[in-house]
Symmetry: C2
Subunit: 145 residues, 2 copies
DNA sequence: AGCACTTGGTCGATGTCATCGGTCATGGTG
DNA sequence: CACCATGACCGATGACATCGACCAAGTGCT
């Protein structure tokens, strides 16, 4: 289904998604029309879900990053989910098994803002916040083999 | 420093990082050389850290995704950090304040694999695992304003 | 076995795009 | 006020993506 060449293409694009078809052709040993066709198929099959960009939140003043575990109060699950989605400083959120219903990543400019945002949640949920000190593993791909 | 046009460019690239300079020019109302120059500056200043691709781990058999909180045993912090980095199924990991030293995202193909991988960590750390059921907020940008 | 069909590739022509040098308007500064 | 730095535009040129025509290899059917 996805062969070695597809993996080479994906790995190359993971590194730099603006690579030209010609460059991808050289890397993979195919011609550029073939590469274009392969990318089209990978997109079609939903393997390649999108081309995006990595930005540095610090450049917009987001000095702090936190992982917040969120346990809604009884009957408040829907409301809490809606609130998380509505607060744009939550840049990702998973709904998980276990006591903590949600685990979310939060970017804030200051401790004060952290406090303000969490207070809004605290009327509907208990939260547990861990400040990110370092990121030993940056977003990467699991092995494709 | 980063003005409205830069934000438009970043937002557009977040959606589709393979947009041509010409397309970005139309979106932003500039000429393509100007767009190229702005991107160059954004990269130079480290605002734009990279162009990447979003892939679907399910297409490679990763049916399960878990958030793992990891608390190293006394004296094992370095070793645990090295181990996490060495296990490619950990696709992201933050070192945080609080009792849990690390919070990591893990992709596995089966419960059995989950068990195997966590056992390797459990000789050096206590872990707490939450299976991802749903992702109410997909990776997005915090407000730039 | 042989033939037709499908799949995935190349090649070459054409039109689109990125890039580079030159130019100009603007705003801040000595 | 004059100067310089910045950030934009334009036009020419070379690089690139795209499209159609063609080809080779594997598959299944008679």
């Amino acid at each position: 289904m996805t062969d070695d060449i597809d993996q080479v293409l994906i790995t190359a694009l993971m590194d730099d998604s603006r690579l030209s078809l010609k460059a991808l052709a050289q890397i993979s040993g195919l011609s550029s029309p073939s590469v274009a066709e392969r990318l089209r198929r990978l997109e079609e099959r939903g393997v390649l879900k999108g081309y995006t960009v990595e930005i540095d939140p610090k450049c917009f003043g987001y000095q702090l990053q936190a992982i917040v575990r969120i346990r809604p109060l009884p009957g408040q699950l829907q409301e809490v989910e809606r609130q998380i989605q509505a607060i744009p400083e939550f840049t990702e959120c998973d709904k998980v098994t276990g006591d903590d219903c949600f685990i979310a990543r939060l970017h804030v400019r200051s401790m004060e803002q952290l406090d303000t945002l969490l207070d809004r949640l605290n009327t509907h949920a208990e939260t547990n916040t861990a400040i990110v000190k370092k990121t030993p593993v940056k977003r990467r791909l699991p092995p494709m083999a």
